[in-house]
């Protein structure tokens, strides 16, 4: 290696100049980023956000995600009593199923919330006996009146003329003129396997297993195993069958969209590749079509298509298909421009026609690249399909948004989120495995 002769002073000066410039940039870039972030903090009103944030919502969400509550509800107008899970009409305990911490007599009840907390329903009167505090009486016969031992209301009681709420560590009692409700919290997801109407309801895991393996048939003519599976599949609360369908729909949207797009984009990519389409104008036109389709974006396609086809998985699949046609067209035409001409020449020399040249000269060269790009997109489209499903009304995305918007079933929301993550990771591993397999196999 020969060094360029240069006076030492010049070299030193230029180096020092370069270093100072670099140092200045190294300081200026973080400073600019900081200024920008400060501007955004003001523009996004971060200060106001702290006040608007509902941390109590976060607490409800976290607690509800891993627990469920049982409602003991007295209808004060019809004077009836009902015990249900999460207050859902689909999960009402029948007379014989009522848990033993609730002792019901007609419309009266004695509810044991544990740790000495006892709530008694006695006609329109409710007495909540709180240890270390004393009995609190709510009366709903005329408006809602509250009597407490000390005379002044403590923090955990929230009362107005039409509504009173007592919140303790053990549960919550709410009384209005129309109904009185006691909530007790339990750890875990309720009735994940079998709902209340199922013959397996209330059994422990061991009991279910022994019933399946050796028990007498619970329903005439059906084996216990298939009964258990169908009861699980048609579980009224968790609806495993419907959820499985929703996940299938989401994957289907991604699958149809990705490979449909590849199918449409491949012939068009030949028209956009320099070495296959001599006409400059045709190339230009096709490329602008790709750019346009890519720029319009899946959101806008989803809106337009759902007007024509209605909500559902097909609309989502077509929206993905249209957007990805642009992306694939661009990527495929770049791959086609990089093919080696020699194999094509060789095939031409044997007298092959154009289709044969493409099939045996071009496709084998580009196929691994194209397939690996398609599989990359398949994984990311699974995620897009979840989002598009939320807008266009299909798949797990719709179930998730609905569950979040009702703001009640956070355990279901947690379940769906877990399913989505598992689904995406599974698709990721599948596409990675196929990619390795195809590229190594080719």
């Amino acid at each position: 290696m020969t060094a360029i002769p240069m006076p030492a002073d010049d070299l030193r000066d230029s180096t020092i100049r370069l270093m100072t410039r670099k140092r200045r940039i190294a300081l200026a870039v973080p400073a600019l980023i900081l200024v920008y972030l400060a501007y955004v903090a003001v523009a996004f009103d971060l200060g106001g956000l702290a006040q608007r944030a509902r941390l109590d919502n976060a607490a409800i969400l976290l607690a509800d995600a891993v627990s469920h509550k049982v409602h003991v509800t007295r209808d004060n107008r019809r004077e009836t009593l009902q015990v249900s899970v999460e207050g859902s009409n689909r999960a009402v305990f029948s007379e014989s199923q009522i848990p033993d911490w609730v002792q019901a007599q007609g419309d009266g009840a004695r509810i044991d919330l544990g740790a000495g907390h006892v709530v008694t329903y006695d006609g329109p009167r409710v007495v909540y006996d709180i240890p270390d505090y004393g009995p609190v009486t709510l009366d709903t016969s005329d408006g809602v009146s509250v009597q407490v031992p000390g005379g002044t209301l403590p923090d955990f009681i929230n009362a107005s003329p039409t509504r009173a709420t007592i919140t303790t560590d053990q549960g919550r009692v709410t009384a209005t003129a129309s109904r009185t409700e006691t909530l007790r919290y339990f750890w875990g997801w309720e009735m994940f396997f079998f709902d209340l109407s199922s013959p397996f309801s209330g059994m422990t895991a061991g009991q279910v297993l022994s019933t399946i393996i050796g028990g007498a048939p619970l329903v005439e003519g059906v084996s216990n195993l298939s009964l258990a599976l169908s009861e699980f599949w048609t579980n009224d609360i968790w609806q495993h069958g419907a959820v499985a369908w929703a996940i299938f729909e989401t994957v289907l949207m991604a699958f149809l969209g990705t490979f449909g797009a590849a199918f449409v984009a491949l012939p068009l990519a030949f028209l956009a590749a320099q070495n296959f389409t001599p006409s400059r104008w045709l190339r230009f036109a096709v490329r602008r079509v790709f750019d346009f389709v890519r720029g319009v974006d899946a959101l806008i396609f989803t809106i337009i298509l759902s007007r024509a086809f209605g909500p559902g998985p097909l609309t989502g699949a077509l929206a993905i298909l249209l957007t990805d046609t642009g992306s694939f067209g661009k990527l495929f035409s770049e791959a086609l421009e990089n093919v080696d001409d020699k194999p094509i020449e060789g095939i031409r020399s044997t007298g092959a026609n154009a289709v044969q040249r493409y099939r045996f000269g071009v496709i084998p060269q580009v196929l691994p690249v194209l397939l690996s790009q398609m599989l990359y997109f398949l994984e990311s489209n699974t995620r897009s399909a979840t989002i598009i499903g939320a807008i266009t009304g299909g798949g797990i995305g719709l179930l998730l948004t609905q569950a979040i918007q009702t703001t009640q079933d956070w355990e279901k929301v947690t379940y769906y989120i877990l399913l989505v993550i598992v689904m995406v990771i599974a698709m990721d591993s599948l596409s990675g495995w196929l990619r390795r397999k195809l590229i190594r196999g080719a």
Partner: protein
Amino acid sequence: MALIDIRDDYLAQTRRKRIYGGLLVVIFVAMMVSGFRVADARNAGGFWTGLSSVGDFPADVVSEAVAKVANLPGHMVRALPAMVETLNIAVVATLLGCMAGTALAMGATRGLARWPRLVPLMRRISDVFRAVPEIVIALVLIFILGGGPVPAVIAIAIHTAGAMGKLFSEVNENVDLKPLDGLASVGATWSQRIWLGVIPQVAPNYLSYALLRLEVNIRASAILGFVGAGGIGYELRNAMTFGQGKFDQAAAIFLMLFAAIVVVDQISGLARNRLTHGAPL
């Protein structure tokens, strides 16, 4: 082995390969067709009945926009703050996500990680962050923080951190370790070694990936606006749900969103070209 045996063997192998290939194609086509039929059956409107009316809605929008073409610039000016908000969401989320992604990548690369035992953990964190669709985090955060840009920023940033954590750590695998050894020999700490030895090597690739991610994130930010996170997507939904009579506004927003996406794509494409092929001197 006679030549003819070899030839027969080869031909049989080729035939077998071709049969397998053909079989794969047939299975694949069958999957596509049946998948399409299932999707069609589960859709509210059928494909063939809807196909003729695909153009109706764009035609409505375009005809109303053309009829009220004088309103378009005004609508655009009014929607400009929302557009800026959408862009800001994307830029901030990309910035924060890339910073977190860099940290994840440095912790997830063998040979560079400060705590080598945590490498698998860091990788799993990236995987999970990457797997969560933005909309999931955004919707949950909207419930806690209320609607607005911040839930969208956090949601997109988390996803970006996961995606960048993976891409950046792939870049890190190709880093030349000699400068690191040199720095270590003069007593540089871990952060000095990373800052002075690794970052200068990987910066062009990182920037290029970050720009590509910015393009993706602008689209994501528009979509999240549609589900309530503010920005241009929210304006678009309002104009759309109003329906006929406000289609000129919807058209103006469509145009602006389209223009913004194309402009950012072009700029980032040019910048990425410069990063990979070097700046013209």
